[in-house]
Symmetry: D2
Subunit: 384 residues, 4 copies
């Protein structure tokens, strides 16, 4: 398949919450024109898809995107050219979850948390979503605060009950994170932990790699490659980071790393939708305007992918087999150093899109329009 | 001077904001009974001092602790046995500061920020505070976002104007921080930057070491020792961290590190108030109740100090001079491995205090009283 | 069981190579009196056991400890009161292994490496060792240098062949390491990778945790707890680190961490030899004299264990169940803050040992004796 | 000045030691054909310059490059089209330096170390070198091992004596390093320490930034910018790293970081030789062949520089001043995403060079020639 054909098939899912306000613990700088309802988030996601051509689905976050009629929300999306994607659960913003959700020492709280997970599967039934994405803020701030092992037992039990509730064609995606909001220990800190639970659960449980959730020095593409080999890579949450879980635009902090990750994907022929990997963004645009930041992120992932598709695999292979360290590295770098923007402009024209989505967005007047129209009501934000 | 005498002289300042609510970007779990006014924060700080005997001052944060009459606030504190301490400026929670305060590209915003710093010196005049503590959230999330060097020029200008406004007997303390809330670059990322600006400013400008503001692997006691040698260590913000700026209780994450820091202080004879180092806490008690967490933190610093005072300096010196690595290390570890709690209980009895401040607090009924009484109004929190 | 009884049962294995010279890439500072043969290493290990009472076995490293007659070596050890422990393979110091051993792109090199692993099992048959400990220096310095996934396939194949060769009662212990000597990627970088391979292999394959082999910010006791729960923790390589794989004396860099690790061990009742966890040291004494450094390390592990045994589990449990963060943390810290040295001196007297092994070693004249006697020949070192 | 003109002026210094063997503490994999004498290292450096056109000087390391007649060595170099560059001192590989050199507790050792530094200045007089580059391996492995502050006093004294010995037109360049070979503390761990000493010494003392010597998460371009502003940036040691001081080829691990560094250089107009910044490589080619690895590194720095020169400063400035985060970032990324290889091929043709230095080297037969000719003698390596 040609590079362009592969790129035409690429699918990136944008997260409904990235269209709303976000911030740090120090301050949320609110922006004008951010959506006030799940419907308005879908409007924005549709704009991103219309301009990039490769972002046809939107992930929802429950309860932030709770609506009375999910069927209606799904049709609304379809009418605008996009579809509802993964359902993300949220068991970290209720006062009951102060000491954890599914790992909480108190069975009542665990029950409530599992109830929410099951509700999310109900919603999937109605939205037609394939993926339930689970991230737990569970963890400890202080040594001794709770029993690490008992918490794993509780986690396993909650995951089992939820997994067993999945309908056919539905999957559970388990995310890991080294730290934050818990500081001393998190209950799913690394891919090994997520992997072990997924193995126990069954083949429809798979691991999510959020690129911002690792310790410094972690080789993320190794994890990509390992999970692909084990058939346990379910999805990505793309974003970028310099120090912690900064949730910056994908490709902004270390574009070479993003390329190496996409290289592993291409090597394993896992780019195509049929491979079942969900490529999602999970970002917070604290300073920059949301919609163009998301467009930029989609383009960054696309550029990294295009470069990965340009790697000359037979030259790479030959050099690797010959133990030629410099040539093998050069084969990779040749592709990375290529400017793929002309190719992508061409691709977009082939697809009937504007060759420059950022400029097209600026020209569209949409930014001004939402500032004008979205007045009153409560702007969406983490928790809104 | 005996160990007990040295401990009796020790002074630890508690931060008004640690008595209020705090949290992560994901959620603030509000607690019952937290103060609603600066006066109530002083009530709580007074309790901590009454029980520990070594926390006689409270740092204020402006505008969080803004009142009409600072003289009245100061008398209120004195009536309760404590005094007002450092004034902390806040130029990061106003919408204007989205892209920075004193480093902002727009001169109008810089003017406003400097105005706030000058206002803080006015307040110091009224509270009788010696120290103006400056921390800037200024920085960049993305490469290219602003000109790093121009921002230093702007920073230098703002610091100069503020420094020149200081009255006699007043000091400027400049804090540094590697990351957060800015992710790509902060404008005062490390002690070197703070030190260079303080050198430029003059002898009343000194560096603050916040123990949670370093990159992984940084040897903090080296910085302590270096700044003491250069006469540029002004203060500590104690807290502890596992990964980022976790703001956990001092001594909770790495008690050995806290001991090594206090060892450098003792070696340089810088523990006594006359040495001019302000030993402050800067913490966020997100999960645990505020007042006992602060008591625990004060006790942790005191225990580390007691251990540091027990180091046999002549044995240490002799081993160091002989190049005896194991003996020198053992001389330090002997002190660290000592259980100083009996000594500290004795000290407290000598000082007319309850030997067990944590138990005394529990017995005091204060926790229940504030829950009962502090009803209505707005609970203090970051920003409240 | 009483704390003393538990401590009496404790077993720590010392590594033959730590008695020889070691250094950094910049310089090996040779010491006088270091052993020149495996026999002399055993002499030194016997001294450590005689003085501490809890270090009855010595790990061997092949080919560094290759001898003609392993039966003779084993009897030699028994005559001196110690036994041979784990066999450590070495497939990283032959020129053929420049680009890897079992993961090398060239099948001939892989064959040679597997041959060495099988030879190690042969040696185990003769020494009566239970454990084959595998650490691979395999990895990549540059992106693209080799195919990450193909290397996993080769690794799996080599491990399988070796595992299948194990006799009954023998185990394979697989070690992981984030970096060094490979810089870009290592083939077994983390516990997840080691765990996944061990799961595939079978129940006699287990994971080794080297405390110096993690990224900054990694919570090691979480891994301990997780692997114990999964029945996949085989052994520890204890040492300590500030930045990288520093291989300093256990407990020297972060004694609180060592305590937390031993707390998880005690919680899982895995301290006793019957639990099958091998507690080993893996250290490099670059500056300090070898034997007293090893004694010190054994004592540090013992002190951390004694503290862990003193944790009041019912108080801890109660506080955890009540969600009392401060009390739960305090229950742990109470034990950590206890000075266990008097208890350990008492224990040693009960065991007929000198209460102060460090002083006893100094008085013994052994250090002077080996300097006098070990003249000529080639001093042992990494590779000697 | 045009981009090409600026690039034509660029100067990169290669290090004599990178042409010899190097390795990790685990193993040095010797290569065939590596130089056996300083003369042969110059031969290799001349090849690199002949092919790249921008590497006209070679740094020496004393005592590794000690010769009887430095004048002769200098003429030898000139005959081959290159010149001798910075003199690097080495006070870390003599047994006396086990506990330090200029910071050693014993004055005799310090005297010896200072003697070596003065000898290096003598050599500079003879080679005509401008720069004395100082890196100290001094530090501590264990807390308490020596007195951190006393060591700073000793360091200051040694630097002062050496600085005062400098002839007119000579400079002292002080390097810092966070860790390795010392693990607990190094005596010049960070730029702040080097900067403070340089300030004390005088204007001819400047800081060296080795890109591999920082803690994870450090923003190196911030340091570049800060030191340029303070007129204290003397030189770079370029290399790249994933975890520690990996000393890989510059630009191999994080090409975007190298670009950001060069962007600060270009912004400050500090690329041109008259600005006095020495751009040097400091690398270890453990696996890959030395000469092509150095060529590749020179090209990587050149590519990063070319991209930095392409930044549209007026667009960048305008966006920064307008607070347009996305546009400002885009202005930088536009340059980074450009493929500068065609431009550089063109530049080389303009300069009468082969457009593809790597291919030209392969075709030259030099690699085969040195393997054939350099037989017998002792191959150069760290310490040889």
């Amino acid at each position: 398949m040609s590079v362009k054909d592969a790129l035409r098939e690429q699918r990136i899912e944008t997260p409904s919450w990235a269209y709303g306000n976000s911030g740090t613990r120090f301050k949320v700088f609110a922006q004008q024109g951010v959506p006030r309802t799940p419907y308005e988030k879908i409007d924005d996601a549709a704009v991103v898809h219309r301009l990039t051509g490769i972002a046809p689905t939107v992930a929802l976050h429950i309860p932030w995107d709770r609506v009375d009629d999910y069927g209606k929300l799904a049709s609304y999306a379809l009418d605008r050219g996009v579809a509802l994607g993964a359902i993300n659960s949220n068991v970290f913003q209720d006062d009951d979850y102060k000491l954890g959700s599914v790992c909480h020492p108190d069975a009542t709280v665990r029950r409530k948390a599992v109830g929410h997970l099951l509700e999310c599967v109900d919603i999937m039934d109605r939205t037609g979503s394939r993926d339930l994405k689970l991230w737990f803020a569970d963890g400890l701030n202080y040594p001794g605060q709770d029993n690490l092992r008992a918490r794993q037992d509780r986690l396993a039990e909650a995951l089992r009950e939820t997994y067993d509730r999945l309908g056919s064609g539905q999957r559970m995606l388990l995310e890991y994170k080294l730290f934050e909001p818990a500081f001393y220990a998190t209950d799913v800190p690394d891919w090994g932990t997520a992997f072990a639970h997924c193995l126990q659960l069954g083949e429809r449980a798979q691991v999510v790699i959020d690129t911002g959730h690792h310790a410094p020095g972690t080789n993320i593409e190794f994890i990509v490659s390992f999970l692909l080999r084990a058939d346990k890579l379910g999805a990505f949450d793309f974003n970028s980071r310099f120090y912690a879980d900064d949730d910056l635009m994908a490709g902004a902090a270390d574009p070479f790393q993003l390329f190496r990750i996409m290289h592993e994907i291409v090597l394993a022929d896992a780019l195509k939708p049929a491979a079942g990997i969900a490529f999602m963004l999970d970002q917070c645009h604290n300073l920059e305007p949301k919609i163009p930041a998301i467009i930029r992120s989609v383009l960054n992932v696309q550029e990294a992918t295009a470069k990965a598709l340009l790697v000359d695999h037979s030259a790479l292979d030959a050099a690797q087999r010959a133990g030629d360290v410099l040539e093998a590295n050069a084969a990779l770098m040749d592709a990375y150093n290529t400017d793929v923007r002309p190719l992508l402009r061409e691709l977009r024209e082939d697809m009937g899109l504007d060759p420059d989505p950022m400029a097209a967005y600026r020209r569209s007047g949409y930014a001004e329009q939402i500032v004008r129209e979205r007045v009153g009501g409560e702007a969406a934000g983490w928790g809104a």
